[in-house]
Amino acid sequence: MDDLLLQKIAISGPTLASMIQRFSSSPADVDGLLFGHVTYIAPSTLSDDSQSPSDSQLVATISSFLSFPSLLSFYDSLGQVDSSRLTPTHLNHKPFIGWFSSRRKTPLRPSMRESSVSRSLSCIPNLSLPIENANFNSLFAPSIFLLFTTPVQDQSIQTNQYRAFQLQSSKRCFNPVSMDIVNIGPAFRGHYGSFRPSSSLPFLNCELRSLTPMNEDRNEGKLIGMKQTTKDQSQLDMCTEGMQIGRLSRLIGPEAVSYTSGLEDLYEKMLSKIESLARLVEASSAKVLEQENHNRKLRYKVGRSA
């Protein structure tokens, strides 16, 4: 089987910053999983002298990550991966493309155990995900390894180093892959397609006819209509806060003259939803930190009692 070699890996600025922040705030070494997707991208440069049709590039995009609070989380001391911890349910059905490891003051190349984990990952069946834009059905096994370290010498300047590798399973060796950081801005418009939202707006059933003022009262009266409305409202509440489902009608049909204000309203409510989610995350993070500190104290006791 031919190896599918990545030309490059794209990662969004916030994701990379988030990973580095996780790494530098953690008291010890950290590792975790990478999620994203892999796609073929046709090269954007067209040259007049068409010598050979340039192949489309295989590009992986890292869109999110999950970090584990302790070492030897999904693998054992020999680097053998425990596949029962990587079932789709565990991964929240997220597309799994590789893993990362971060360790301070070590050289920037894979270690004995990391090599073993990467090779073990690529051997687990049923973890591959389909490649998008492919001419034929091809699967990509989670073979990306992202390594973060800090330099061994020169500790006067805070430096974070990272390098991405892809495991070439036929040769069992790591190929370095270049990483592109994608941010929002005019230079990156071409990439917007690769970063799709993790939480998109739900599909809501709407019929133009039923939204004329004549039929409105009739619809709200029906029981089935009310049930449907409640269901739709709860779906909308997943991504907005305080937005009445009826207000969505401002975006279509004859009411769409106030489209802009309707859209602004929608975005406002989505932002306030994000805010309240952020507060929830803060509160739960505080609890997690408390628990982690407690665990650390227990581990110290174990470590000191020699």
Binding site: S24, D29, S77, R104, K105, S111, R299, G303
Partner: protein, 381 residues
């Protein structure tokens, strides 16, 4: 070496490793992987002797996770070295399964674990290098490996630097003698051995006749007290020779030289004993190798120490003398010493009592010079 700052479980294992490793192992770049230093130091680099050189391995513990075994980062050139077995990999031999057992059964309270792990990994590294050398497409090399492999203890290494040409290095332990046993009261902690380092350049196919490899004798460091390999002249490598032909000659000659060196200990001992009637009992003397002796002497009221330093080439090479005053101090605060005196009448054919007498006569005169020298540069109080 004090290892303050290590958590106890790492410190115990590291100390055990250093004290029980069969050769000298060095530790450098001790660092902490924690956010602050409160966790303790938990990563370091080991310089492990291999093939008459060192390999650098980084050992990564985690002070926050004391129950986990350490991880190891190998050298930059050894990306293909994978000592851990693959899941479901059969037929990978005993070597990998021993490493596997050490790691899967890791007990952080057991101080012997790190040593066991490093020894196992080093063995696997040796066989990895052997495989790599075996893959080199060079007929002469293949012939050498086949004829030499019956000897025990050969280590080989192939260097693949991009800027240097590829070379294959062999470290061949010479002579099966237990030199430690031959020395009475031997203080050496490790068995002393002599090795021949043979370096073959690889890949130069256009050479019509294969050139001779580079040869170098090396020994463990403590052997210098008995025998200096710098004094050994290597027999020349004739064209078309191979290791299997060259080594027996070398070993024969070396054996003779080592035996001679051991017998010279006795001669030095008798020389020191012969000095005693003239100089009195020595203040200090090296009882095992008899390379040094110091006597207290006086010339009138001038009291001084006479140091005798015998090289491994004694009696062919005369002892080096040095005088040290007990009554004069240099401005830096050290006792005044004479330069090393090596020009005085000497013949290796004299018997030891005559040697002692002639040195005595020489020192009687020289001590007057020394006294004058000390007094001249003495500041008047």
């Amino acid at each position: 070496m004090a290892f303050d700052g290590f958590p106890p479980f790492i410190s115990a294992q590291l100390h055990y490793l250093i004290n029980h490793f069969p050769d000298k192992i060095k530790v450098e770049q001790v660092l902490s992987g924690g956010k602050s230093y409160t966790g303790g130091l938990d990563r370091f680099t080991l310089l492990i002797p291999y093939c008459l050189d060192h390999i650098k391995w980084d050992v990564i513990y985690n002070a926050e996770f004391p129950l986990a075994p350490p991880d190891i980062i190998f050298g930059r050139e050894d990306e293909d070295f994978h000592p851990l077995p693959m899941a479901g990999g059969e037929g990978e031999g005993d070597l990998k399964s021993r490493t596997k057992n050490i790691l899967s059964d890791w007990k952080n309270k057991d101080p012997t674990r790190l040593l066991a792990l490093i020894l196992e990994l080093r063995d696997q590294y040796m066989s990895y290098q052997r495989d790599r050398v075996g893959e080199v497409d060079d007929d002469r090399l293949k012939f050498e490996i086949n004829t030499i492999c019956s000897r025990e203890g050969i280590e080989m290494h192939i260097s693949s630097g991009s800027e240097k040409p590829e070379e294959v290095k062999f470290a061949v332990p010479l002579m099966d003698m237990n030199i430690n046993k031959m020395v009475l009261g031997c203080p050496w902690r490790h068995p002393q051995k002599i090795y021949l380092q043979i370096i073959y350049p690889v890949g130069r196919k256009y050479a019509s006749t294969p050139s001779a490899p580079r040869l170098k004798l090396m020994s463990t460091s403590e052997l210098r007290a008995l025998f200096s390999i710098d004094d050994v002249k290597l027999p020349s490598w004739l064209d078309g020779m191979c290791m299997a032909e060259y080594l027996p000659h070398l070993e024969e000659s070396l054996e003779k030289q080592v035996l001679e060196a051991v017998s010279l200990i006795d001669i030095r001992r008798r020389f020191i004993e012969a000095l005693a009637p003239l100089f009195g009992r020595p203040l200090e003397a090296d009882p095992v190798f008899c390379r040094k002796a110091t006597f207290l002497a006086s010339s009138g009221s001038f009291v001084f120490l006479a140091h005798f330093l015998m090289s491994t080439q004694f009696p062919k090479q005369q002892p080096t003398l040095m005088l040290q005053s007990s009554q004069h101090i240099s401005p830096q605060g050290f006792p005044k010493k004479s330069p090393f005196l090596t020009e005085y009448p000497w013949s290796p054919r004299w018997d030891v009592s005559q040697m002692a007498e002639r040195i005595f006569d020489f020192l009687v005169e020289e001590s007057l010079n020394f006294k004058r020298f000390c007094n001249e540069s003495q500041p008047q109080h």
